[in-house]
Symmetry: C2
Subunit: 474 residues, 2 copies
C-alpha cells in the first residue's frame, strides 16, 4: 500500500478544481463580508470523532469548502486591517503547492532548497543594508525570529559559556525594551531563562519612542546594583501605533556601552525596502541582529519570519551541534552538512523560502517597495479622513501604517464602552475588520495596514461605517 | 496596485499546469535517480542578484522546474531511507495549496482554522491514550515540539516562578536522558537556560535502552550535591537504532520521585497508532508531556510537530500572555481569544493543521496504522536479508524501523572507511539513499524507514547495490 492516489488522473483533476476554486474565491473577495461569525452548526459539524475509515479526497474537499473556507478571520479581504496580518499573495499559494509536493527537508543537504533559502537571505541582507557576510535564517514566526536574535545575543554577550553552563547560579542578565515593545520580548526573556523581571521596560516620548535618557539611567542603575546588562531592543514599528524607536542613537549608545543591539522590525523594517521610506528606519542597518516577517508586509502566507545578524560566526556558535548520524561529508547527499539547522532551533525545516523566492522574483522588489509606499500613503490618508471628521478623534500620531482613532461625538465618560460596541458591530456587519488597543489607557480603534488589496475607497467605507454605527448607538 | 494577478484566468491556468506537472513528477519518481548531485551550473544559475524588476510567474516557474525540482535530497523517492524524513503525502500538497490560499492566522480568533487544529489535537490525544482533557499544540519541528514539552516541565517543576524570575541566581536544575537521546535535548536545555552540563546522559543496555539503575543513582547523587532534578526524558525510537526506552518503568520512577516525565516520540510514538505495535511503546500514555512529528511517520510534508500534555492548565500557564491589542471579547473576530498562541512560542501561526485534517480524513487512521505496520515489517525483512547475506553484518537489534548494518566481507581494520565509501557511491549511483551513524563507535550504514512508497523489491535492490559496490571496492 501507499498514500499515493490509485488514480493519478482523478487526483490531478481534483487538484485543478481546487486551483480554479481558490482563484475564483480570491478574485471575488470583495463581494463577500470581510468577516462572519462561525455558526453553531458549523462548529458542531467540525467536531468529528476519530476518522478510522478513510472518507476519500472528494468528500473531504467538499467539507473544506462548506465548513472551513467561508469562515476565516478576514485577513485576505480588502477591508481587513485588524492586526498586522498579511493578506497573502496568490502566487505564494502556488509556491506552497510546489514546495509541499517537492517536500525537501530544508536544513541543508546537497539539494536545491538550501540554495533557494541562501538566495532569499542574501536579498534580505542587501535590502536591509547589512554587510555582505551577514548571516540569516527563516523561521516560524516573528516571535521566533526575534527570539533567535536574542539567543545569539545571550550567547555572545553573557560573559560566560551560556550553552554549557546555563543561567542557574549566574549573575542576573538584564535587557531593555520600551514599554511599547511587543509581547515577544517577554516571551523570549522567559523562554531563554532570563526572566520577565530582568526585561526592563523604558518609558516613551510623545511619539511613543523609547526615551534614551531613561534607558541610560536604567543601565547605569542596573550595573551599580550588580546586574549584567547585555542587550537593548529597539522596535521599528510598534504594535500599538507603528512608532519607530530612535534606532541610530540606540545603535550609538549600544556601541558605547558594549551592549548587543537587537531590532524588532516585524513589519516596520520593510520600510527600508522603499527608498522614500528608508529614512524612517535609519540606523536599522547598524543592528547586531534584526528580525522581521515576510508574512506581514511582505504579503507571503503564514509563516515566514526572518532573522539577520552581522555576526555570522556568533550566530552559528550559538546553535551548532554535532550529529553523528548527519556528519557532513565531502561528497554525497550530506556534502555541505545541514547549515540552517545550526542557525536556529529547528532541525527539520520546510521549504518556506520557495514562497519568498517565487513571489519576490515574480513581482520584483520595486513592486514590493511601491506596495509599502501605497500602504503608508493610505494610512496617512485615513488619518486625514479621521481628522477631517468632526465625529472622530485621532488617538496617536501616524508614524507608519497604524492608525489609532475613535468615535468621539458623545459624552466623554462613555467613550471606551461606546467604541468597544462600535468595533464589535462593525465586525459583525462584515463591512470591515479593524481591532482595538489601549493608548495611554484609553480604548482606541486601530487599523493596522499591510493589505495589498485595499483601495482608497475601502478606507472611505471604513470611516463611513464607523460614523454610521456611532450615530446609531448615540 | 495589488499582488493579485491582473488576469485570474491565466493565473489559474498556470496553477492547473503545476498540479498536473507535480502529479506527473510524483507518479514517476521511480523512473528517476533517488538522488543526484547539484551541478555547478545549477548552483551558479541560482546565485541571482536582487530581482528589482518582476520576472513574471511563467518565467519563475520555468526556473523552478529547471533548477529546483530535479535536485532534492531524495526523501520523496521510493528508495530513500536516509534520515527520518517523511516521503510526503500528495494529498497534503493539495491541502498546502488550500491552506496558503485561505491563509488564516491560526493562533485563534473566531474562525474555522483553530477548530480544525482542535480536532487534529483531539484525535492525537485519543490515539496516544491521553486523558480527554489533555492539551496539545502543533509547532514547527520535532525539536520545537520537544522543547515546548520541556518548557512546560520547567515551569511546572522548577519550584519557583521561572517565568518571572528566570534562572540566574537559582539552584541548578537537572534533567536526564539516555546517551542515545537526540540532539534536541541538548538544544532545548541550552535554549531554556538550563545548560548542557545539567543534561545528564544515562548509559544504555544491550538494546540501547536507558539503564534505570544508572538513572536512579544519578538522581540520588545530584540531589545529594544540591542539584534540583525536575525532568526525565524517555525516547520512543532513538535516532541511531530505533530503540525504545522502558517507558512504563520510567513513568513509575518519575511518579515516585516527583519528576516530570517527558517522552520524545518523534517517530516511534506513532507505533501506538497500530494495535499490533502499541505494546512496543507501552507507558507512553503515562507521559506528562509527549512530542512527535506528523511529518515523519505521519507522511505529512514538512513541517508539523505535535506536543501533548496531560496538564492542560500547566501548559497554558507556561506561556499565557496578556495582549492589549488582542484582548478577547464576547463577540466579534476575537471571541475565544488566541488560545494556540498561549500554548507555544509562536504568536503568528500558519494553517498546518489543514494538511493533517485533510490527509487523515482522506485515508483514515486504519490506513495510517497499516502503513506503520508495513514499514516495520519491511524493516524486519531488511534485517533478515542482511543476516542472510554473508557479506553483511547487522550492527544493532531492530527495535522498530531503523536498520543498522555494514558490509563486512573485508579486512576488519578498514571497514569504517570501506563502508563510508560504499555509502557515498551508493548515493552517487542514485540507486538508493541511506545514511550512516556510529554504533558503539563503529561506522555503520543506517536505513531509517518511514517511506510510504517503498516496496519489498526496493529493499532487495538496496541489499544488492551495497553488496555489489562493496565487492567492487575490495
Amino acid at each position: 500500500m501507499t498514500f499515493d492516489p490509485l488514480d493519478w488522473a482523478a487526483f490531478a483533476a481534483v487538484g485543478r478544481s481546487m486551483v480554479d476554486d481558490m482563484a475564483g474565491h480570491l478574485a471575488t473577495l470583495r463581494e463577500r463580508p470581510a468577516w462572519q461569525p462561525v455558526p453553531a452548526e458549523v462548529r458542531e459539524a467540525l467536531r468529528q470523532g476519530l476518522p478510522r475509515e478513510g472518507q476519500g479526497l472528494e468528500t473531504c474537499y467538499e467539507e473544506f469548502r462548506r465548513l472551513v473556507l467561508p469562515y476565516t478571520n478576514g485577513n485576505i479581504h480588502p477591508r481587513f486591517w485588524g492586526w498586522v496580518q498579511g493578506a497573502g499573495d496568490p502566487h505564494a499559494m502556488l509556491a506552497a503547492l510546489l514546495g509541499a509536493g517537492l517536500n525537501p527537508m530544508s536544513a541543508g543537504f546537497q539539494q536545491s532548497a538550501p540554495l533557494v533559502e541562501e538566495r532569499v537571505i542574501a536579498w534580505m541582507v542587501e535590502l536591509m543594508g547589512f554587510p555582505a557576510d551577514a548571516s540569516g535564517v527563516l523561521s516560524s514566526s516573528g516571535t521566533m525570529a526575534n527570539l533567535l536574535g536574542l539567543a545569539v545575543a545571550r550567547h555572545a554577550r553573557a560573559g560566560f559559556d551560556v550553552r554549557e553552563q546555563g543561567l542557574c547560579g549566574q549573575p542576573p542578565l538584564t535587557l531593555y525594551c520600551s514599554v511599547e515593545a511587543h509581547g515577544w520580548a517577554r516571551r523570549s526573556a522567559e523562554m531563554l531563562g532570563i526572566g520577565n523581571r530582568h526585561l526592563r521596560r523604558i518609558p516613551v516620548d510623545a511619539l511613543f519612542r523609547m526615551d534614551l535618557n531613561e534607558l541610560r539611567a536604567e543601565i547605569r542603575a542596573d550595573r551599580a546594583s550588580g546586574f549584567q546588562p547585555f542587550c537593548v531592543i529597539g522596535t521599528a514599528g510598534t504594535v500599538n501605533t507603528g512608532a519607530i524607536d530612535p534606532l541610530e542613537e540606540m545603535a550609538e549608545l549600544c556601541a558605547g556601552e558594549g551592549l548587543w543591539f537587537h531590532v524588532d522590525g516585524a513589519f516596520g523594517a520593510l520600510a527600508r525596502w522603499s527608498e522614500n521610506l528608508a529614512p524612517l528606519v535609519r540606523g536599522i542597518e547598524r543592528a547586531d541582529s534584526l528580525a522581521f516577517d515576510l508574512h506581514k508586509w511582505g504579503s507571503l502566507p503564514f509563516t515566514c519570519g526572518c532573522t539577520l545578524t552581522r555576526h555570522a560566526e556568533e550566530h552559528r556558535a550559538a546553535f551548532a551541534l554535532e550529529r553523528p548520524y548527519m556528519a557532513p561529508t565531502e561528497r554525497g547527499v550530506l556534502a555541505g552538512g545541514v547549515p540552517f539547522a545550526d542557525l536556529g532551533i529547528d532541525l527539520t525545516r520546510g521549504f518556506e523560502s520557495l514562497k519568498a523566492w517565487l513571489c519576490f522574483k515574480t513581482h520584483g522588489f520595486n513592486a514590493q517597495a511601491a506596495m509599502i509606499e501605497q500602504n503608508v500613503r493610505q494610512a496617512q490618508r485615513l488619518a486625514a479622513l479621521v481628522e477631517a471628521s468632526p465625529e472622530l478623534e485621532l488617538m496617536a500620531p501616524v508614524s507608519l501604517n497604524v492608525v489609532c482613532f475613535r468615535y468621539a461625538a458623545a459624552d466623554a465618560g462613555g467613550l471606551d464602552a461606546l467604541n468597544q460596541e462600535i468595533l464589535l458591530r462593525l465586525q459583525e456587519s462584515g463591512r470591515a475588520v479593524i481591532s482595538s488597543t489601549l493608548i495611554r489607557g484609553r480604548f482606541s480603534l486601530r487599523a493596522a495596514h499591510v493589505n495589498h488589496r485595499s483601495t482608497d475607497a475601502d478606507f472611505d467605507e471604513l470611516v463611513r461605517a464607523v460614523i454610521e454605527i456611532g450615530k446609531d448607538l448615540t
